[in-house]
């Protein structure tokens, strides 16, 4: 069995969870400070009152280079992993680069595949989703109801405040992601009425901390967003873009990037460019993955990354 039984807090439950996690990480966040799970599994966060959700990222429908000529197929493997979970997640969050080239047929294929999950899905765009039309095609299909004109939005679920940001529009030469003054102002207002003890999950495509600005793996004005977030006890930032798991903890903020379901990218600075990393066909699924996040009021957030292998 390679799934998390989120209702089980026994050692066996933990082992199942770790099996689902594969070679991935397994962390919990309590009061904003992540720690590794204890062997007794007590930190598994699916108690009464909690819920779980799944992060899918960088599906790149339309990609056809040698490393993975069938990103639709690998997305289906990912959705199969999610469907096999014994407890259905409350939703999927997709952190962008749904498509490779923003083509209408790519949006259509992606929407059809994602619909197959039969789950609520919340999207943020990646830079590959907004090529040539400033996101018009993306937002028509995946825009959230009640989103601001800029496409960013927020919602509350199970005691957690979710903020979905857009940092792939308004790119200027030499920079990475950008949030922009209008979005930053909106964020400040959005968070104003929230209790500091409410956990906040922030979604955005490009990392909200400078992982490797030389490759555009940074968001220039993200620091201003954290001025609005610093009073919260637990902030979890879920990003995509770099097709690998990288994480960092700073005070009460935990940053995590996710694996892609389409193709891997090299570690920062470890190749001449951030283009697709070539891996043997039989190793591809070991470098693709999805992420599960469990939340319970008593224990906070627990995160498990699993590969598609």
């Amino acid at each position: 069995m390679d799934t998390i039984n989120s209702a089980t807090q026994t050692r066996r439950g933990l082992l199942k969870c770790m099996a689902w996690g594969g070679t991935g990480i397994l962390w919990t966040v309590s009061g904003g400070v992540p720690k590794g799970l204890g062997l007794d599994g007590s930190a598994l966060a699916a108690e009464a009152g909690g819920f779980s959700f799944v992060q899918v990222s960088d599906t790149h429908i339309g990609f056809k280079a040698e490393v993975n000529p069938d990103p639709a197929g690998t997305l289906q493997v990912a959705l199969g992993k999610i469907a096999a979970l014994p407890t259905a997640p409350a939703m999927i969050v997709h952190t962008g680069d749904v498509t490779h080239l923003s083509k209408p047929e790519e949006f259509a294929t992606a929407a059809d595949l994602m619909k197959g999950a039969r789950l609520d899905i919340h999207y943020v765009p990646g830079e590959h989703d907004v090529i040539g039309d400033d996101g018009k095609g993306f937002f028509e299909r995946f825009g959230a109801k009640g989103a601001t004109p800029g496409g960013w939005y927020s919602w509350d679920q199970g005691g957690v405040h979710f903020v979905a940001l857009v940092n792939v529009l308004g790119f200027t030469p030499g920079t990475g992601g950008t949030l922009g003054a209008a979005q930053l102002e909106w964020l400040e207002g959005d968070l104003k009425g929230k209790s500091a003890s409410m956990p906040v999950v922030v979604l955005a495509h490009v990392p909200l901390w400078p992982i490797y600005p030389q490759w555009g793996w940074a968001t220039g004005d993200a620091e201003k967003a954290f001025a609005s977030l610093k009073r919260f006890g637990s902030v979890t930032v879920l990003n995509g873009h770099i097709h690998q798991v990288v994480q960092k903890v700073e005070g009460n903020v935990t940053f995590r990037t996710a694996m892609s379901t389409a193709f891997p990218q090299p570690a920062a600075g470890q190749a001449p460019s951030p283009g697709p990393m070539k891996v043997p066909a039989d190793k591809l699924r070991t470098v693709l993955g999805v992420r599960r996040i469990d939340y319970a009021p008593a224990t906070g957030l627990a995160v498990a990354d699993t590969t598609l292998a």
Partner: protein
């Protein structure tokens, strides 16, 4: 003698035409997340062709919106061209990977 003179004139014309043609096109290759050459100087009226040799899609987007050259997403081996009529310095970048920047100088 007249024949030779005519032949020379024709040759000169051909050379001029060839030079003129050579001056009318420029090429930029996109490879490894970079524009090559990063800066290209051309004469007014030159058509510049960008070709993407990367496995990643890129765009050619002018920094100055009024200069109005803006490609669609260029997949592997796709090309985009633009003819520069007016002298000036035209900066551009890839709107997908904004750390990729290039310049066309027209003079």
């Amino acid at each position: 003698m007249r024949v030779i003179r005519n032949a020379l004139a024709a040759l000169a014309f051909l050379c001029l035409a060839a030079n003129a043609f050579a001056a009318q096109t420029g090429a930029v290759t996109i490879d490894n997340f970079a524009f090559d050459p990063p800066s290209l100087t051309v004469a007014p009226g030159t058509k510049v062709v960008w070709t993407n040799k990367d496995e990643e899609p890129h765009t050619v987007t002018s920094v100055d919106k009024d200069a109005s050259f803006k490609s669609a997403g260029l997949d592997t081996d796709d090309s985009f061209s633009f003819t520069f009529d007016k002298p000036g310095t035209y900066k551009y970048f890839c709107s997908v990977h904004p750390h990729m920047v290039g310049t066309i100088v027209v003079k």
